[in-house]
Amino acid sequence: MRNASDRSLPKGSIGAKIRKIDPTILMLIVLVIVFSAIFPDRFLTPLNFSSILGQFVTIIVFALGPSMVATIGSMDLSYVGIWMLGGILVWRLIPVVGAPAILVYPLLGLATGFLIGVIQVKVKMPSFILTLSLLVAYSGLTAILSGGYPRIVRGYDFLAARLIPYVPTTLFWSIPLIIVAIFLMKNTKLGAYLYAIGSNEEGARLAGINVEKYKILTFTISGLLTGFGSIVQFKHLGGSVPIALNLNNMTLPLVAIVFGGTLLSGGSGGPDRTVLGTLAFVTLYRGLFITLLPPEILQLVVGLLLVLAIVASSRGLKGVSIT
């Protein structure tokens, strides 16, 4: 991993020490220092801190599953669809079955993930197109079932009841999901096999890994994580059920995955990197936000950053964090 320019630096110099730090963490530190220096009165406030954590939750609950899918070199964009359709199903079912209706989210996630996995393996179509099409179909179905209006689901208030000032309670609900995702990738056979498939699919097959089975499993787990994530998300955003696709909901988790250094071509990265990537991205986003730039410019900046991050990660971060 160390390249020639690394070696040329004398050991123990400040430059060498900085280079040893993980690039995403380095970026995070630099961003915090820069924004604190420029906007001490706006960046270093409890309110901004709270917003950063809030947006962290919004992004991470959707980025966890897809970042597992990214390690096998595929893409899962279905998360917004699961969240929207699931929400409207919950809204429809609450009058019938009551509180357990919330379980529709994980069940829908599980079913969607499994469906994507099976189609992807049997028809061998690119997962990007497949999940994007499914997302469009789900949003259409949502609009039909909702009767054309955004809906509010009441109840389940304990999910978002504030425990600590300035810290969104939903953050605590997202932590078990984060831990499960990281644990699966780092400490189990499943994780090792997924990296293998992403790194060299032919090699994985010859090593006796049932590639098809593990691909289906990956999409299923991703769907399930998104399903549980959607529960967190729905209360995090006040119980509203959107019926129109929002571009930001879809792209920001992707940006976070790439920011963490996960290669979309597979074989590296994973949920642990995505947590770091999300933190770094959210800090940057909030930092830009408080500069009071117009939202259009913000959008432009985010898009350009995504391109930059992809270029940088495909060059420098290969093989990071494979245990």
């Binding site: 990296y195 790194s199 060299n200 090699g203 010859l206 093989g319």
Partner: protein, 510 residues
């Protein structure tokens, strides 16, 4: 022959990299007209460095260069090397598939034919190219696309191009010159190799060749003299027309130790005839092989021998579950195995598949440790809860690295930073640890040096001793006589004859 003046003579070549590693130490070689000279040695012995100095990639730290008896400075780039009579044909990536033959031949020399009228230039090039192909006995048209040519012809055109570049540089057809061939046969099969060497024999009339190769019998058969390099020093020089040299002699000179002795091989020949682990009955895959039947016993090794296209590689892939078969039945340990099974299912039944193409076997961006553990996941999971025990994983990797003498800075080093031989050892090592009941080997030592090859054979013999049944498919007859108890000859996808190991040795000796 040695009374003539050498075309190229290098004296006392010394080259040091980074002030520490001495890649070449006082090496002197001479190339006479009309001969093929072999240069052999392990990876890291200095062959490549020496060839690069000759080809003008970089100059040495010290030494002298004589061209046709005249002292000259060392070439600083390939064009200067051509002026001094040396051109090189690299192992791979030399051919540009999208070009026509004549375009490829003159690639980089087009400016010599830059006339005001494009058509005129092209006709002249084509005429010259046609004359060259005729002179060099290459059977193709100047209008053919490179990608349409068989691999051996492509190699011949590459050689012709190297000679042409020398001639253009000197402006005449009769210049004495040396062409370096770096592992020319690596991408070729047996027949194509034979074809290429027949061609080189003809070409000797006008040009001298340096053959860099890992394949001992090729070197012994087709060269006139052999230089052996070890650790940057010239350790031996054989004049093959005067002395009789065996593969074993050459091996000992290259590696500095004995090859696996015959007695060690016969120790493993003890086969348990009672226990049959794999039975094939009339296996047929249309277009590849027909009516293949055999029984594989515990601890036995069967080899499928034949030219490329004889179906040997398809048979072993069908047993591995990579390809299916259309007719017949396959029994693994007494149970019928469906033709639709994938490698994963076959491995669960105890059939492991190993091929020498490391890019198909290894995960290059992974550390050595992970590459070894990936096929052995089950044995490093904790007992109570199925999570990976990283301590056991490290122990396993350490054990294999030590056993196979894998040269790596640590078990955490990325696989792609290692040499070909060491990659291959990791590949074999992971199967050694997995210990399948049946191991399928396809070209297990392709493209690696003799030292690494010896270590791999030893491991395979040890696996045979552990009563692992083996099926071998390879291009190297020596491999069959060392490992196999039974050799099945294939031709056109059908069994031609079945030989014992002893009979096989007699056949290949003649």
């Amino acid at each position: 022959m040695n009374t003539a003046t050498p075309v190229i003579e290098l004296k006392g070549i010394t080259k040091t990299f980074g002030g520490v590693v001495r890649a070449l130490n006082d090496v002197s070689i001479a190339i006479y007209p009309n001969e093929v000279v072999g240069v052999v040695g392990e990876n890291g012995a200095g062959k490549t460095t020496l060839m690069k100095i000759m080809a003008g990639v970089f100059p040495p730290d010290g030494g002298e260069w004589y061209y046709a008896g005249q002292k000259m400075s060392f070439p600083k780039h390939p064009r200067e090397a051509a002026q001094r009579g040396v051109a090189i044909v690299y192992q791979e990536k030399g051919v540009i598939p999208a070009l026509r033959v004549y375009q490829y031949l003159f690639l980089g020399h087009e400016d010599r034919y830059a006339m005001s009228l494009a058509r005129l230039k092209r006709d002249e090039m084509k005429t010259y190219a046609e004359r060259l192909l005729r002179e060099f006995h290459i059977a193709c048209s100047v209008e053919d696309f490179m990608y349409n040519l068989p691999p051996s012809t492509q190699k011949m055109v590459e050689i012709a191009r190297a000679i042409l570049s020398l001639r253009l540089e000197h402006g005449g057809d009769d210049t004495a010159s040396v062409v370096i061939l770096d592992e020319p046969t690596a991408p070729l099969n047996i027949e194509e190799r034979q074809e290429l060497f027949n061609y080189i024999k003809k070409m000797k009339a006008t040009t001298s060749f340096i053959l860099v190769s890992h394949i001992m019998h090729e070197v012994l058969e087709f060269t006139d003299r052999v230089y052996v390099l070890r650790d940057g020093k010239l350790v031996s020089h054989y004049n093959l027309s005067e002395e009789k040299v065996t593969e074993e002699d050459l091996f000992k000179a290259i590696v500095g130790r004995e090859f696996i002795p015959e007695t060690r091989i016969s120790e493993t020949a003890d086969v348990n005839r009672e226990e049959v682990v794999l039975v094939a009955q009339n296996l047929t895959r249309k277009g590849s092989y027909y009516d293949i039947s055999f029984e594989l016993h515990r601890g036995e090794c069967i080899g499928f021998f034949g030219p490329t296209g004889s179906g040997k590689s398809e048979i072993i892939k069908s047993i591995a579950g990579i390809l299916d078969f259309h007719q017949g039945t396959l029994f693994i340990k007494g149970k019928e195995a469906s033709s639709k099974e994938i490698p994963h299912t076959r491995l669960a039944k105890g059939v492991g598949y190993f091929c020498g193409e490391t890019e198909k076997q290894l995960f290059f961006n992974w550390p050595v440790r992970k590459n070894i553990s990936i096929v052995n996941m089950e044995s490093i999971l904790r007992k109570r809860f199925p999570i990976i025990d990283f301590r056991m994983e490290k122990q396993m990797a350490g054990k294999i690295v030590q056993k196979f003498k894998i040269r790596t800075p640590s078990i955490e080093a990325e696989c792609q930073s290692l040499s070909g031989g060491n990659k291959q050892k990791i590949s074999v090592g992971k199967w050694f640890e997995r210990n399948p009941e049946i191991l399928l080997l396809e070209d297990p030592t392709i493209g690696i040096d003799v030292g690494a090859r010896r270590d791999i054979y030893e491991a395979l013999l040890e696996m045979k001793e552990r009563k692992i049944a083996i099926i071998l498919v390879s291009d190297d007859p020596k491999e069959y006589s060392m490992l196999c108890d039974k050799i099945i000859f294939l031709k056109g996808g059908r069994v031609q004859k079945v030989l014992s190991s002893q009979e096989f040795k007699e056949v290949i000796a003649t």
